[in-house]
């Protein structure tokens, strides 16, 4: 497949890995965080960590939207789904996320709630049009990649004056999370792994562009390389970060220039700005309360806001005691450090959100057998 196979070439991968090994100095540390769950997945799937010299360490970041959704919001969605006459639509990954008392949307569905898995936001709008006598709610989550489609369906619902459709909005912002990892008070309390550089998200960056990262490079003096999701992309980004660190540079470089520009997708950005506004604060699983890190639906679109329609109030619910998702999402621990990993907690029966989505660090480690290297 074009633009896929060329970026998975094994021979070239080994050559780039050899270049990394030759250039990384054994006497210094290269602690690199891949922010995005898509990269975590690729790193596990292609065994990229096995190709790196000991001085280069990958730290998995919190960029998996399912993993950072707080339990209180899952509980809210379940409560909405249980209301009479409601159809709750959502992306497949969300169905198994355990809320309070390990109840998930899937369990609520088994108990009679009408919960439907959709592939896209547009599907949920269609379900609303097909079921005029039901209230259809789209449980929307995700970073900057899924936000523009949600904005689009809200605008379409308004244009069609659709009275039985609303969106439960949980969209969050990448730059706010990166800032939080670098400087929140909890980082000082809990300690954090020192980070020397970042691999910037692929698809998030197609929308927001490379410009927002310029601030981090500048302010925190950390290099950022935006990378695609294929194994060669990730390896090349690591090599570019190693070179920047060796040369004492901290710049934003774009390895994924085939899809990412400095300005990003302005049409999508304008749409998002039209429909959403910043929340003053929002809870992230693993990161806690993060200021200005999420979006709410603007007053102008109030009739399509499920939070207003169902008078949603969110409680802050702590994780299962032994679950280490919080520390894993901050890069403090690895999945195998959790004593539930692979025993009480597996993708079939997840205890924490990091085990639910394919981009979660625990699920990626489990699926591709990365835990074996430590056992």
């Amino acid at each position: 497949m074009k633009y896929i196979d060329e970026f998975r070439d094994g021979k070239l991968a080994r050559r780039i890995a050899a270049a990394i090994a030759a250039e990384a100095r054994p006497d210094r540390r290269y602690a690199l965080m891949e922010f995005c769950g898509g990269h975590t997945h690729a790193i596990s799937r292609y065994g990229i960590e096995d190709l790196l010299p000991p001085a280069v360490r990958m730290i998995h970041g919190p960029g998996c939207p399912v993993c950072v959704l707080p339990i209180g919001r899952v509980d809210n969605a379940i409560a909405i789904a249980r209301q009479p006459g409601v159809i709750l639509c959502t992306y497949g990954d969300l169905l198994r996320v355990p809320g309070s008392k390990r109840v998930s949307l899937l369990k609520a569905k088994a108990a009679g709630a009408d919960v439907r898995m959709v592939y896209s936001a547009a599907d949920s709008l269609r379900i609303a049009q097909d079921n005029p006598d039901r209230q259809v709610v789209f449980f929307a989550i995700g970073f900057e990649t899924t936000t523009p489609p949600t904005a689009l369906v809200i605008r379409q619902a308004k244009a069609a004056e659709l009275g039985n459709f609303s969106v439960f909005c949980n969209h969050v912002l990448t730059p706010a999370a990166i800032t939080n990892i670098l400087e929140s008070p909890e980082v000082r309390e809990l300690g954090t792994v020192p980070l020397d550089g970042f691999i910037g998200p692929a698809h998030v960056s197609t929308v927001i562009g490379s410009r927002p990262y310029e601030f981090f490079a500048e302010e925190y003096q950390k290099p950022v390389v935006i990378a695609g999701f294929e194994p060669l992309d990730v390896l090349q980004a690591i090599l570019m970060l190693v070179r920047q660190l060796n040369e004492g540079r901290f710049e934003v470089e774009n390895e994924f220039s085939r899809a990412v520009t400095r300005d990003g997708n302005r049409k999508a950005q304008a749409l998002v700005a039209d429909v959403f506004e910043l929340r003053r604060i929002f809870e992230w699983r693993g990161l806690g309360m993060v200021p200005y890190s999420a979006l709410a639906i603007k007053e102008e679109f109030a009739p399509w806001d499920a939070e207003r329609r169902f008078e949603v109030e969110t409680a802050s619910v702590p994780d299962a005691k032994a679950c280490e998702c919080g520390a894993i999402l901050r890069g403090l621990k690895k999945p195998a450090d959790c004593r539930l990993f692979g025993t009480a907690c597996t993708p079939e029966s997840p205890m924490g959100s990091c085990m639910v989505s394919a981009e979660g660090a625990c699920a990626a480690y489990w699926t591709y057998g990365r835990f074996r290297q430590v056992s």
Partner: protein, 74 residues
């Protein structure tokens, strides 16, 4: 849910919809978020929406860079 792949645009349909092909499978998606899509373009598809177009010249450059950067070290 963040995984997304480049797909080729086969046909453009009304209402900003398009049929794309990926590994022999065709699928209807929305191109409402991307400006000026034409048949033959490769687009990055995510949750049923094209997010951006793939720039063939930039893809070539990146492939060339892989070869060049890994050679410099050998």
């Amino acid at each position: 849910m963040c995984l997304a792949l480049p797909a080729r645009v086969l046909t453009l349909l009304p209402d900003d919809l398009a049929v794309v092909e990926l590994g022999g499978v065709s699928k209807e998606i929305s191109v409402a978020l991307v400006e000026e899509v034409v048949v033959g373009d490769y687009v990055i598809v995510h949750v049923g929406y094209a997010l951006s177009k793939v720039d063939p010249a930039e893809a070539e450059k990146t492939l060339a860079l892989f070869a060049e950067m890994s050679e410099a070290a050998q």
